[in-house]
């Protein structure tokens, strides 16, 4: 029991927040995605998405490449190896918790 409670408290808070979890889930399923796809897939507003991406970038979980597509700015995001590891370990922890709660 104590181990499971420990697992809950050990969850990576940065990944656990719903908006950031959605972003990381999308990025874990591809090599990279642009800003337009992330807003389309997650349903987040541009401002919120931008703020959450900055937090993930600061933590070293997401790499952001800014460029231009014609005259328009184009932002492409991808998970860093550390971000991929963090997302995988978060998923494992959540699955273990779900299994424990089923018992």
């Amino acid at each position: 029991m104590a181990d499971e409670i420990k697992a809950i408290t050990n969850l990576d808070r940065l990944v656990h927040e719903p908006a950031r979890l959605a972003i990381m889930a999308v990025l874990s399923a591809c090599e990279s995605a642009d800003f337009a796809y992330l807003t389309h897939a997650t349903g987040l507003s541009k401002g919120n998405l931008s703020a959450q991406l900055s937090k993930l970038e600061d933590a070293g979980y997401v790499a952001i490449a800014k460029g231009f597509k014609g005259k328009y700015p184009n932002t492409v995001c991808s998970l860093t190896p550390a971000g991929r590891r963090a997302f995988e370990s978060y998923q494992k922890q959540v699955q273990a918790l779900a299994q424990y709660l089923k018992k």
Partner: protein, 222 residues
């Protein structure tokens, strides 16, 4: 504040994105259709005679012309990539955004099982030949039948994994047709052509239907 996201659905949706517009189906149709035709051509006596005459007239290097159809197939498939990119950037994904897909569309166990199916099929045909129940032509036709089973299984697994029912149908129908080919009295070249064209037709139908759907979705989004 955002409610708890459905992680599984988000992952599935993003993986499906690459295949939902049907362009990958059309690319595979070109690969299999032209690949089958070039394999057939390679075993045609007329083409072999042309390549032989070229080698006699211009020297041994001219025999490389025999590989030209294969090179053209690869160029056509490779050339489709920038074309697909342009179509997506300017039309299909213009509003919904661009994604660079993962290298592997299915889990490793699906790839392993596909290889087992293909090698297993070949093993069975060689075993039947050793027992005297099958001839050499059957073993050669098995190359295509086993390839069809393996490819069909991969598509079926992808259909389940990505919640794309058309791939489940495609895998099942293609796998069945590949089995029928095994029992038709065809030479190797002919079975290559039949295999390539059948898969090509199936993939074109699937690709065009998906593309129509994606096109109307893109129109609505604009």
């Amino acid at each position: 504040m955002m409610s708890e996201p459905d992680v599984h659905q988000l992952i599935q949706k993003t993986r499906r994105y690459e295949f939902a517009d049907g362009l990958r189906d059309l690319q595979l149709a070109v690969l299999l259709g032209l690949g089958g035709a070039s394999a057939w051509l390679g075993f045609e006596p007329g083409w072999m005679a042309i390549v032989g005459n070229l080698a006699k007239t211009y020297g041994r290097w001219a025999a490389w012309v025999g590989l030209l159809p294969m090179v053209l197939v690869l160029l056509a498939v490779w050339g489709m990539l920038p074309l697909m990119n342009i179509l997506r950037k300017r039309w299909l994904w213009r509003e919904s955004g661009m994604v660079k897909p993962s290298r592997w569309a299915v889990p490793r166990r699906v790839n392993v099982l596909t290889a087992v199916i293909m090698v297993g099929g070949m093993g069975v045909s060689l075993g039947l030949r050793a027992l005297g129940w099958a001839d050499d032509a059957f073993v050669l036709r098995m190359i295509w039948a086993a390839t069809g089973w393996g490819f069909g299984y991969t598509l079926f697994a992808m259909g389940r994994q990505l919640a794309l029912p058309r791939y489940r149908w495609l895998g099942a129908i293609g796998g069945f047709i590949s089995t029928v080919l095994l029992f038709l009295p065809l030479r190797f070249g002919q079975s290559s052509l039949a295999f390539g064209l059948l898969w090509c037709v199936l993939l074109v139908v699937s690709g065009v239907l998906a593309l129509r759907h994606a096109s109307s979705a893109a129109k609505k989004a604009q």
